[in-house]
């Protein structure tokens, strides 16, 4: 298994206000995803969706350690990556609704969101795409000397893709400033990951000499600390870092999946370790924040999402007469 070293990442310490922000962002993702689910059932969200519910601490912890100019490549389960990075939830919801006001004007939908202003070079609808893209962004960062890093989010199933093996190898050979974040939610779609994967995922980057670490992916503070260390490693010029965040998704793989393959009791066990429950506990115990204050955040976010839906459903659809241009002139 991946090494579990104790380390202190510079800047991983956080004050009460920062800790509250982490919690708020996780809550925002959860409520956003619950809302997407409801709106899907009402017919306002189209196609398919892959929800991030249960994995919030991974994306929020990692993105909270990034700085201006860093790049992120997310996955088709990318609403969480997007919000964690700072994409406006209104634009994201409008994109789900297929509206002209969406993050990509309704051209992308749930799986392919891009927000260059926020450093989101893309969410990739095909498994593994994020790894290759982030590796390329890291190549650009290195050759341009920007001092930035690129982060690739991907799931455990991606560890069996060509993108994974080819890009990890190239990134290590070229010592590229990229952080590979494997969000291990234990299932490759409907199949337990161990049924289709030889050996431990973390042993693969380790075999290439890549700095590798596994972390509790439901503890946002632990993720933040480990991500800080991984990012620092990559930024220093020492080459890529690999972070495996152990987590669990609370919903099906996609909207059509009832999750019948789960082991009995597994979901309930993981729900006890809900990143939001762990987050609340930490905020109460470490920062002395009263539960009522956290309830207020929850209520605030719920209200925000309500307003987002109202505005989103009132927003215009894209004009079919504007077919767009094939090429940039």
């Amino acid at each position: 298994m991946a090494e579990k070293t104790e380390s202190k990442a510079p800047g991983a310490e956080i004050d009460a206000e920062g800790a509250r922000d982490l919690y708020r962002r996780m809550r925002l993702i959860r409520t956003f995803e619950d809302t997407v689910q409801q709106q899907f059932q009402k017919g306002n969200v189209h196609g398919t969706t892959h929800l991030y519910s249960g994995q919030e601490a991974s994306g929020v912890g990692v993105c909270s350690m990034l700085r201006e100019g860093d790049k992120v490549a997310g996955t088709y389960r990318g609403h969480g990556h997007s919000i964690a990075l700072g994409v406006d939830p209104q634009k994201l919801m409008d994109e789900m609704f297929g509206r002209a006001t969406g993050a990509c004007g309704g051209r992308a939908g749930s799986m392919n969101v891009v927000d260059l202003e926020q450093g989101l070079i893309g969410c990739f609808g095909i498994v593994g795409g994020s790894i290759g893209a982030a590796t390329g962004a890291a190549l650009a960062a290195k050759l341009r000397g920007t001092g930035n890093v690129a982060v690739a989010f991907f799931g455990d199933g991606t560890s069996n893709q060509a993108y994974f093996h080819e890009s990890l190898n190239w990134a290590q050979v070229e010592r590229l400033p990229v952080v590979f974040v494997c969000e291990n939610n234990l299932y490759m779609e409907f199949t337990p990951i161990e049924n289709v994967t030889a050996g431990a995922i973390g042993s693969r980057p380790m075999a290439m000499g890549i700095h590798t670490r596994q972390v509790d992916g439901n503890d946002v503070f632990a993720v933040r600390e480990a991500a800080g260390e991984a990012i620092e490693h990559a930024r220093s010029g020492a080459g890529p870092a690999f972070l495996e965040t152990m987590t669990y998704r609370f919903v099906g793989h996609s909207r059509s999946d009832p999750g019948k393959y789960r082991k009995p009791g597994e979901l309930d066990e993981w729900k006890k370790r809900d990143p939001l429950i762990l987050g609340r506990k930490a905020l109460e115990e470490r920062y002395g924040i009263e539960p009522e204050r956290l309830d207020e955040i929850d209520a605030d976010v719920a209200k925000e999402l309500q307003e987002i839906v109202e505005r989103g459903l009132a927003a215009p659809f894209p004009d079919p007469a504007d077919g767009g241009k094939e090429f940039k002139a």
Partner: protein, 336 residues
């Protein structure tokens, strides 16, 4: 074109284009298998690594990582050129090229574009066998957002590659293996860049329009010489780019000659030639008396010279097909 002052080898033209653009723009980088220290298996890029250092990179045999790396770098400020050694290997790079690079401008709602160039050596005629001889054009042409360019001459190679590197969109730049050693006249006053998506009438004629790309254009020109001796005036159009596709130039030519022959190195079914005929027929049927495609048999490309040589379209096949279809075969047979 201006007066020819020197001759330029096709592979050198490509090297000079890369060097000139790397000189001109420091965001241009170049990578591929064996391209840096070794200078490339077709000896196209010697000297670039020595001149540009870390901007010229030897990669692992990882076509997908290369393609995706180019994509990621292109959307974050570089202008990567990468080499796929044999165009057949493009299939390993296709997910990133087709699903990421080609769609980026449109799907991102025009937030950003993807200025990359993928160079690849294509084509048969070298006895490389079925997996090192194919034309990737039919795989690439049907992808909106991806430009597909294949130059026929050294001068075009240089000017079109320079334009491809400056273009803000992904461009597949295809180099026929049989052209690397050809030398063409170039003039000091030739344009630095040629527009992508503009066909060229490279020989004028009134009886039939021969349309091709890359090596096929040279076959057509030789065929046109022979046809002229037999009293057939063949106009030759080099399409140069298959996406965007300049149908205007072809329609104008067909309006003059009323006959169109597409010469394609590849299968007829699913090929660019049959597709082009369809487009021209839909828009210019009133101008057409006859139209057909000269393509390859519907099998993989064979290895043995006795199989591969007749597999390919060449000037002999073009002359024979045009002469017999135009009814001049009998005259030739009788020596009339």
């Amino acid at each position: 074109m201006s007066d020819a002052t020197e001759t330029l080898e096709y592979r050198v033209a490509i090297r000079e284009a890369i060097a000139a653009e790397m000189e001109r723009d420091e965001t241009v980088v170049f990578f591929g298998e064996d391209v840096a220290v070794a200078g490339g298996v077709f000896a196209v890029t010697p000297g670039l690594y020595e001149r540009f250092g870390e901007r010229v990179i030897d990669t692992p045999i990882s076509e997908l990582a290369m393609s995706a790396g180019a994509f990621g770098a292109a959307v974050t400020g570089l202008r990567p050129i990468f080499e796929i050694m044999f165009a057949d290997f493009l299939l390993l790079a296709m997910d990133s090229l087709v699903n990421q690079a080609a769609k980026y401008w449109y799907v991102s709602n025009e937030q950003g574009s993807c200025p990359l160039v993928v160079r690849a050596a294509m084509g048969a005629g070298g006895n490389f066998g079925a997996m090192h001889s194919q034309s990737p054009i039919p795989w690439l042409q049907g992808v909106p957002g991806l430009k597909v360019v294949a130059p026929a001459t050294a001068g075009d190679a240089k000017a079109l590659l320079r334009a491809a590197i400056r273009d803000d969109n992904p461009v597949a730049f295809l180099e026929h293996k049989r052209l690397y050693s050809v030398k063409d006249p170039v003039g000091a006053g030739d344009p630095e860049v040629l527009p992508l998506g503009k066909a060229a009438v490279v020989r004028e004629g009134t009886d039939v329009t021969l349309v091709s790309i890359s090596k096929g254009v040279r076959d057509c020109l030789r065929a046109a010489d022979e046809l002229a001796e037999r009293g057939v005036g063949a106009e030759v159009v080099d399409v140069r780019s298959l996406r965007p596709l300049d149908t205007e130039t072809i329609l104008a030519s067909v309006a003059k000659t009323n006959r169109m022959v597409v010469v394609e190195e590849g299968p007829l079914i699913g090929g660019w030639g049959a597709n082009l005929l369809g487009i021209i027929a839909a828009e210019g049927l009133h101008d057409l008396d006859d139209a057909w495609t000269i393509a390859c048999p519907e099998t993989p490309i064979p290895y043995s010279p006795t199989l591969e040589d007749p597999f390919m379209p060449d000037e002999g096949k073009i002359v024979h097909a045009v002469a017999s279809r135009l009814g001049v075969a009998a005259e030739i047979a009788t020596g009339a």
